[in-house]
């Protein structure tokens, strides 16, 4: 399996009911940096914790890889996530709304396993789609 395929599976498969299988591709010393998280998610438990939090909020969530670029052990993956917010999301009550979010993962893959990821997604868009913050803010007047 090449580095792109590993990065693709780590991105897509947990949301297809294959979380346990994907953990075989996550290193013990894996570190995931995610926006808004006070601390990185570490190891397989951290990865599971991250996925589970979002699956609780979006039980039907899917991630689709749109594009990938690889150089050496680094893979950049552009993806689109979709899901319906039918569960509580980190303390926020369910809304029943469907959301579509775009993001990019920058991952280091070595010895057939994901070692480190920096994941960036449009959190502002997510919160706007959930109605947590206003869709638009009026321009300030002089």
């Amino acid at each position: 399996m090449d580095v792109k395929e590993i990065a693709r599976r780590v991105a897509e498969d947990p949301w297809r009911g294959k979380l346990d299988e994907v953990l075989d591709l996550v290193a013990d010393d894996y570190v995931m940096h995610a926006p808004g998280a006070r601390e990185p998610f570490r190891g397989r438990d951290g990865y599971r914790q991250f996925v589970t939090a979002y699956l609780t909020g979006f039980p039907d969530a899917t991630i689709t890889v749109d594009d990938q670029i690889a150089e050496g052990d680094i893979v950049v993956t552009r993806w689109t996530g979709r899901g319906t917010n039918t569960g509580d999301l980190m303390g926020m009550a369910a809304t029943g709304r469907q959301v579509t979010i775009e993001g990019i993962s920058y991952s280091r893959i070595a010895d057939g396993m994901a070692r480190e990821s920096l994941i960036i997604w449009d959190n502002l868009a997510l919160l706007q789609q959930l109605g947590v913050i206003p869709e638009t803010v009026p321009a300030p007047t002089a």
Partner: protein, 77 residues
């Protein structure tokens, strides 16, 4: 920097909750999605009704109504 407050490329339809790309020329709510979304919004009310209805069925009037309904059903069968 952006000229305006950044806006999400997608927003849920206010009627059915489906994710719709901004500027999409047409969006027609699918009946099943519309029903699912509305039932979800009413889920607490539905749960409350179920609870109250179950409690009523346990009263003397409720038990009698259930007995009459069952008798009518058997007669029609």
């Amino acid at each position: 920097m952006f000229g305006a407050f950044p806006q999400s490329r997608f927003m849920p339809c206010a009627e059915c909750g489906a994710s719709v790309e901004r500027g999409a020329s047409t969006h027609l709510c699918e009946p099943e999605q519309l029903l699912d979304f509305r039932l979800f919004q009413l889920r607490e009310e539905i749960a409350r009704f179920d609870e109250q209805f179950s409690a009523w069925l346990r009263t003397a009037r409720g038990r009698f109504a259930a007995w009459v309904a069952e008798r009518d059903r058997r007669q029609q069968a």
